[in-house]
Protein backbone atom coordinates (compact mmCIF):
# COMPACT_ATOMS: atom_id res chain seq x y z
CA UNK A 1 0.00 0.00 0.00
CA UNK A 2 1.50 3.34 -1.00
CA UNK A 3 2.40 5.72 1.75
CA UNK A 4 -0.27 8.40 1.49
CA UNK A 5 1.07 10.58 4.30
CA UNK A 6 4.11 11.71 2.31
CA UNK A 7 2.06 13.68 -0.19
CA UNK A 8 0.11 15.45 2.58
CA UNK A 9 3.21 17.10 4.08
CA UNK A 10 3.63 20.66 2.84
CA UNK A 11 6.96 21.22 1.12
CA UNK A 12 8.96 24.29 1.97
CA UNK A 13 11.03 25.67 -0.89
CA UNK A 14 14.68 24.73 -0.62
CA UNK A 15 17.02 27.12 1.13
CA UNK A 16 18.39 28.36 -2.18
CA UNK A 17 14.95 29.26 -3.54
CA UNK A 18 13.73 31.11 -0.51
CA UNK A 19 13.56 34.88 -0.57
CA UNK A 20 16.28 36.72 1.31
CA UNK A 21 13.52 38.28 3.35
CA UNK A 22 11.98 34.93 4.35
CA UNK A 23 10.28 35.29 7.70
CA UNK A 24 9.76 39.01 7.37
CA UNK A 25 6.56 40.84 6.48
CA UNK A 26 8.10 42.76 3.59
CA UNK A 27 11.52 43.59 2.17
CA UNK A 28 11.21 47.04 3.66
CA UNK A 29 10.83 45.65 7.17
CA UNK A 30 13.56 43.15 8.03
CA UNK A 31 12.90 40.41 10.56
CA UNK A 32 12.94 41.32 14.21
CA UNK A 33 13.84 39.00 17.04
CA UNK A 34 12.26 39.26 20.48
CA UNK A 35 14.66 40.85 22.95
CA UNK A 36 13.83 38.23 25.57
CA UNK A 37 14.78 35.30 23.32
CA UNK A 38 18.01 36.98 22.34
CA UNK A 39 18.91 37.80 25.93
CA UNK A 40 18.37 34.24 27.09
CA UNK A 41 20.61 33.06 24.26
CA UNK A 42 23.20 35.70 25.08
CA UNK A 43 23.24 34.71 28.74
CA UNK A 44 24.05 31.18 27.62
CA UNK A 45 26.76 32.44 25.26
CA UNK A 46 28.40 34.30 28.13
CA UNK A 47 28.33 31.10 30.18
CA UNK A 48 29.65 29.02 27.28
CA UNK A 49 32.59 31.35 26.78
CA UNK A 50 33.53 30.96 30.40
CA UNK A 51 34.59 27.35 29.98
CA UNK A 52 38.30 26.81 30.38
CA UNK A 53 39.20 30.48 30.55
CA UNK A 54 41.44 31.64 33.36
CA UNK A 55 41.15 35.41 33.19
CA UNK A 56 38.40 37.87 32.35
CA UNK A 57 40.50 39.09 29.40
CA UNK A 58 40.39 35.62 27.87
CA UNK A 59 36.66 35.47 28.60
CA UNK A 60 36.14 38.76 26.77
CA UNK A 61 38.29 37.55 23.89
CA UNK A 62 36.13 34.45 23.45
CA UNK A 63 32.99 36.59 23.49
CA UNK A 64 34.60 38.89 20.93
CA UNK A 65 35.51 35.95 18.69
CA UNK A 66 31.89 34.85 18.59
CA UNK A 67 30.95 38.44 17.79
CA UNK A 68 33.58 38.36 15.03
CA UNK A 69 31.69 35.57 13.29
CA UNK A 70 28.56 37.68 13.42
CA UNK A 71 30.37 40.74 12.09
CA UNK A 72 31.77 38.87 9.08
CA UNK A 73 28.28 38.20 7.87
CA UNK A 74 26.93 41.58 8.91
CA UNK A 75 29.19 43.52 6.58
CA UNK A 76 28.14 41.68 3.42
CA UNK A 77 24.51 41.65 4.41
CA UNK A 78 24.45 45.34 5.27
CA UNK A 79 26.16 46.36 2.05
CA UNK A 80 23.94 44.17 -0.14
CA UNK A 81 20.76 45.46 1.49
CA UNK A 82 21.83 49.05 0.97
CA UNK A 83 19.95 50.87 -1.78
CA UNK A 84 23.10 52.30 -3.34
CA UNK A 85 25.96 50.16 -2.07
CA UNK A 86 29.31 51.84 -2.11
CA UNK A 87 32.64 50.50 -0.94
CA UNK A 88 33.98 52.85 1.68
CA UNK A 89 37.66 53.68 1.32
CA UNK A 90 37.91 56.50 3.79
CA UNK A 91 38.22 55.73 7.49
CA UNK A 92 35.68 58.26 8.66
CA UNK A 93 33.04 57.27 6.12
CA UNK A 94 33.51 53.61 7.09
CA UNK A 95 32.98 54.46 10.73
CA UNK A 96 29.90 56.49 9.85
CA UNK A 97 28.62 53.53 7.82
CA UNK A 98 28.95 51.35 10.90
CA UNK A 99 27.39 53.93 13.15
CA UNK A 100 24.36 54.36 10.90
CA UNK A 101 23.65 51.42 8.58
CA UNK A 102 25.18 48.54 10.52
CA UNK A 103 23.86 49.63 13.87
CA UNK A 104 20.40 50.18 12.38
CA UNK A 105 20.41 46.71 10.88
CA UNK A 106 21.65 45.03 14.05
CA UNK A 107 19.92 47.02 16.75
CA UNK A 108 17.12 48.92 15.05
CA UNK A 109 18.57 52.38 15.57
CA UNK A 110 21.83 54.15 14.75
CA UNK A 111 24.56 54.42 17.36
CA UNK A 112 24.33 57.55 19.47
CA UNK A 113 27.61 59.17 18.56
CA UNK A 114 31.04 58.80 17.05
CA UNK A 115 33.87 60.54 18.85
CA UNK A 116 37.49 61.00 17.93
CA UNK A 117 40.37 61.09 20.32
CA UNK A 118 42.92 63.08 18.34
CA UNK A 119 45.86 62.63 20.65
CA UNK A 120 45.59 58.86 20.73
CA UNK A 121 44.37 58.52 17.11
CA UNK A 122 41.46 56.39 18.28
CA UNK A 123 37.75 56.60 17.64
CA UNK A 124 34.90 55.80 20.00
CA UNK A 125 31.48 54.56 18.92
CA UNK A 126 28.99 55.31 21.67
CA UNK A 127 25.66 53.58 22.10
CA UNK A 128 23.63 55.19 24.88
CA UNK A 129 21.28 52.27 25.33
CA UNK A 130 22.86 48.93 24.51
CA UNK A 131 20.25 46.20 24.66
CA UNK A 132 22.57 43.22 24.17
CA UNK A 133 23.87 43.02 27.72
CA UNK A 134 21.12 45.01 29.33
CA UNK A 135 19.99 42.26 31.69
CA UNK A 136 23.42 41.00 32.62
CA UNK A 137 24.57 42.18 36.00
CA UNK A 138 28.24 41.40 36.53
CA UNK A 139 29.04 40.55 40.17
CA UNK A 140 31.94 42.23 41.93
CA UNK A 141 34.19 39.16 41.53
CA UNK A 142 34.32 39.67 37.78
CA UNK A 143 34.18 43.44 37.77
CA UNK A 144 36.41 43.83 34.68
CA UNK A 145 34.20 41.72 32.49
CA UNK A 146 32.29 43.66 29.89
CA UNK A 147 29.82 41.50 28.00
CA UNK A 148 29.60 44.12 25.26
CA UNK A 149 32.89 42.57 24.10
CA UNK A 150 30.56 40.57 21.87
CA UNK A 151 29.56 43.75 20.04
CA UNK A 152 33.18 44.90 19.99
CA UNK A 153 33.90 41.67 18.08
CA UNK A 154 31.19 42.53 15.57
CA UNK A 155 32.68 45.98 14.98
CA UNK A 156 36.18 44.57 14.61
CA UNK A 157 35.02 42.05 12.02
CA UNK A 158 33.20 44.68 9.96
CA UNK A 159 36.24 46.95 9.95
CA UNK A 160 38.81 44.22 9.36
CA UNK A 161 36.92 42.69 6.47
CA UNK A 162 36.70 46.13 4.87
CA UNK A 163 40.51 46.24 5.19
CA UNK A 164 40.61 48.69 8.10
CA UNK A 165 42.46 46.45 10.54
CA UNK A 166 42.03 47.48 14.14
CA UNK A 167 41.50 46.49 17.75
CA UNK A 168 38.17 47.22 19.37
CA UNK A 169 37.52 47.21 23.10
CA UNK A 170 34.27 47.69 24.96
CA UNK A 171 33.94 50.07 27.88
CA UNK A 172 31.12 50.76 30.28
CA UNK A 173 29.13 53.88 30.74
CA UNK A 174 30.88 57.06 31.75
CA UNK A 175 27.72 58.35 33.32
CA UNK A 176 26.01 55.39 35.00
CA UNK A 177 23.33 57.51 36.65
CA UNK A 178 21.99 58.97 33.45
CA UNK A 179 22.89 56.27 30.92
CA UNK A 180 23.23 52.97 32.74
CA UNK A 181 23.28 50.96 29.53
CA UNK A 182 25.75 53.12 27.67
CA UNK A 183 28.58 51.23 26.03
CA UNK A 184 31.59 52.82 24.38
CA UNK A 185 33.59 50.95 21.74
CA UNK A 186 37.12 52.19 21.41
CA UNK A 187 38.54 51.56 17.94
CA UNK A 188 42.30 51.59 17.61
CA UNK A 189 43.44 51.31 14.01
CA UNK A 190 46.71 49.71 12.94
CA UNK A 191 49.42 52.26 12.01
CA UNK A 192 49.43 51.21 8.33
CA UNK A 193 45.70 51.91 8.10
CA UNK A 194 46.14 55.39 9.59
CA UNK A 195 49.05 56.10 7.25
CA UNK A 196 47.10 54.89 4.23
CA UNK A 197 44.13 57.04 5.18
CA UNK A 198 46.31 60.12 5.63
CA UNK A 199 47.85 59.50 2.19
CA UNK A 200 44.47 59.08 0.55
CA UNK A 201 43.09 62.21 2.19
CA UNK A 202 46.05 64.18 0.89
CA UNK A 203 45.43 62.82 -2.60
CA UNK A 204 41.75 63.68 -2.43
CA UNK A 205 42.43 67.26 -1.45
CA UNK A 206 44.53 67.89 -4.55
Amino acid sequence: MADLTLSLKPKLPSVLDRSLYFGTSSPKKPAEVSLSSFCFLFAEIVGYCRQQVKTTTEWEERLASIGYQVGLRTLDLCVSRDKAPKRETSLLSMLLFIQNSCWKMLFGKPASSLLENESEHTYIIVDDDMQVDRYISVPADFADLNCAAFVAGIVRAILSEAQFHCRVTAHSSENPAEFPNQRRFRVEFEPHVLARDARLNEARKK
Binding site: S36, C39, A43, R50, Y135, I136, S137, P139, F142
Partner: protein
Protein backbone atom coordinates in the same frame (compact mmCIF):
# COMPACT_ATOMS: atom_id res chain seq x y z
CA UNK B 1 0.97 51.94 50.64
CA UNK B 2 3.64 51.21 53.21
CA UNK B 3 5.71 48.18 52.35
CA UNK B 4 7.37 46.39 55.25
CA UNK B 5 8.78 43.21 53.80
CA UNK B 6 9.22 41.63 50.41
CA UNK B 7 9.98 37.94 49.84
CA UNK B 8 10.71 35.77 46.87
CA UNK B 9 10.09 32.09 47.59
CA UNK B 10 11.30 29.54 45.05
CA UNK B 11 9.20 26.62 43.89
CA UNK B 12 10.48 24.22 46.57
CA UNK B 13 9.75 26.63 49.40
CA UNK B 14 13.16 28.14 50.05
CA UNK B 15 13.48 31.86 50.63
CA UNK B 16 15.69 33.23 47.85
CA UNK B 17 15.26 36.91 48.45
CA UNK B 18 14.05 39.00 51.32
CA UNK B 19 14.10 42.73 51.73
CA UNK B 20 13.11 44.77 54.73
CA UNK B 21 11.94 48.32 54.33
CA UNK B 22 11.42 50.88 57.10
CA UNK B 23 14.14 49.90 59.54
CA UNK B 24 11.99 51.08 62.44
CA UNK B 25 10.42 47.63 62.65
CA UNK B 26 11.79 45.23 65.24
CA UNK B 27 14.15 42.97 63.28
CA UNK B 28 13.88 39.20 63.45
CA UNK B 29 16.88 37.00 62.86
CA UNK B 30 17.61 35.65 59.38
CA UNK B 31 16.46 32.17 60.45
CA UNK B 32 13.12 33.55 61.53
CA UNK B 33 12.49 34.79 58.00
CA UNK B 34 13.51 31.46 56.53
CA UNK B 35 11.09 29.64 58.84
CA UNK B 36 8.26 32.08 58.23
CA UNK B 37 8.57 31.90 54.49
CA UNK B 38 8.80 28.12 54.56
CA UNK B 39 5.71 28.06 56.73
CA UNK B 40 3.87 30.32 54.32
CA UNK B 41 4.89 28.13 51.38
CA UNK B 42 3.43 25.08 53.14
CA UNK B 43 0.18 26.88 53.96
CA UNK B 44 -0.09 28.08 50.39
CA UNK B 45 0.23 24.53 49.13
CA UNK B 46 -2.32 23.21 51.63
CA UNK B 47 -4.80 25.95 50.76
CA UNK B 48 -4.58 24.96 47.13
CA UNK B 49 -5.47 21.36 47.94
CA UNK B 50 -8.30 22.23 50.30
CA UNK B 51 -10.62 23.77 47.76
CA UNK B 52 -13.74 21.62 47.18
CA UNK B 53 -14.11 22.77 43.57
CA UNK B 54 -10.56 22.22 42.40
CA UNK B 55 -8.43 24.52 40.25
CA UNK B 56 -7.65 26.66 43.26
CA UNK B 57 -4.86 29.18 43.24
CA UNK B 58 -3.60 29.05 46.81
CA UNK B 59 -3.40 31.95 49.26
CA UNK B 60 -3.48 35.35 47.57
CA UNK B 61 -4.26 37.67 50.43
CA UNK B 62 -4.08 37.55 54.22
CA UNK B 63 -5.47 40.36 56.33
CA UNK B 64 -4.38 40.60 59.95
CA UNK B 65 -4.69 43.20 62.66
CA UNK B 66 -1.36 44.88 61.97
CA UNK B 67 -0.52 43.98 58.43
CA UNK B 68 -1.72 42.74 55.07
CA UNK B 69 0.02 40.05 53.07
CA UNK B 70 -0.24 39.86 49.29
CA UNK B 71 1.07 36.90 47.36
CA UNK B 72 1.45 36.34 43.64
CA UNK B 73 2.39 32.89 42.45
CA UNK B 74 3.89 32.71 38.99
CA UNK B 75 2.94 29.77 36.76
CA UNK B 76 6.39 28.33 37.46
CA UNK B 77 5.80 28.13 41.21
CA UNK B 78 7.88 31.13 42.27
CA UNK B 79 6.02 33.22 44.85
CA UNK B 80 6.34 36.96 45.35
CA UNK B 81 5.11 38.03 48.78
CA UNK B 82 4.56 41.61 49.85
CA UNK B 83 3.80 42.40 53.49
CA UNK B 84 2.38 45.87 53.85
CA UNK B 85 0.87 48.08 56.49
CA UNK B 86 -2.71 47.94 57.62
CA UNK B 87 -3.82 50.94 55.58
CA UNK B 88 -3.05 49.49 52.19
CA UNK B 89 -6.02 49.25 49.89
CA UNK B 90 -5.90 46.99 46.89
CA UNK B 91 -7.85 49.47 44.81
CA UNK B 92 -8.26 48.41 41.19
CA UNK B 93 -5.81 45.63 41.80
CA UNK B 94 -3.02 48.14 42.38
CA UNK B 95 -0.99 45.81 44.59
CA UNK B 96 -1.51 42.91 42.18
CA UNK B 97 -0.14 45.13 39.42
CA UNK B 98 2.94 45.88 41.54
CA UNK B 99 3.51 42.17 42.11
CA UNK B 100 3.19 41.43 38.42
CA UNK B 101 5.66 44.22 37.63
CA UNK B 102 8.07 42.66 40.12
CA UNK B 103 7.62 39.31 38.37
CA UNK B 104 8.58 41.01 35.11
CA UNK B 105 11.71 42.43 36.74
CA UNK B 106 12.54 38.95 38.01
CA UNK B 107 12.12 37.46 34.53
CA UNK B 108 14.38 40.16 33.12
CA UNK B 109 17.20 40.91 35.54
CA UNK B 110 17.45 37.63 37.37
CA UNK B 111 16.68 34.96 34.81
CA UNK B 112 18.45 36.55 31.85
CA UNK B 113 21.57 36.94 33.93
CA UNK B 114 24.23 34.32 33.33
CA UNK B 115 25.62 34.83 36.83
CA UNK B 116 22.47 33.67 38.57
CA UNK B 117 21.88 29.96 39.28
CA UNK B 118 18.29 28.78 39.32
CA UNK B 119 16.58 28.52 42.72
CA UNK B 120 19.56 30.02 44.55
CA UNK B 121 19.51 33.19 46.69
CA UNK B 122 19.28 36.22 44.44
CA UNK B 123 22.32 38.48 44.54
CA UNK B 124 21.96 40.59 41.45
CA UNK B 125 22.76 44.29 41.56
CA UNK B 126 20.46 45.43 38.75
CA UNK B 127 17.53 43.53 40.25
CA UNK B 128 17.98 45.31 43.58
CA UNK B 129 18.13 48.81 42.08
CA UNK B 130 15.15 48.21 39.83
CA UNK B 131 13.16 46.65 42.65
CA UNK B 132 13.85 49.54 45.01
CA UNK B 133 12.83 52.03 42.35
CA UNK B 134 9.61 50.13 41.66
CA UNK B 135 8.60 49.86 45.32
CA UNK B 136 9.44 53.51 45.90
CA UNK B 137 7.22 54.48 43.02
CA UNK B 138 4.44 52.21 44.24
CA UNK B 139 4.54 53.68 47.70
CA UNK B 140 3.65 57.13 46.43
Amino acid sequence: MVVHIFWVINKVGGLIYDKKFHPGLAPLGVNAYLKLSGCFHAQHALARQLSPVGGDSGIEYIEAEDFKLFCYEAPTGVKFVLITGRQTQNINGKVDAVLRAIYELYADYVLKNHFYDMDQPIRVEKWETKLEALIEQAEL
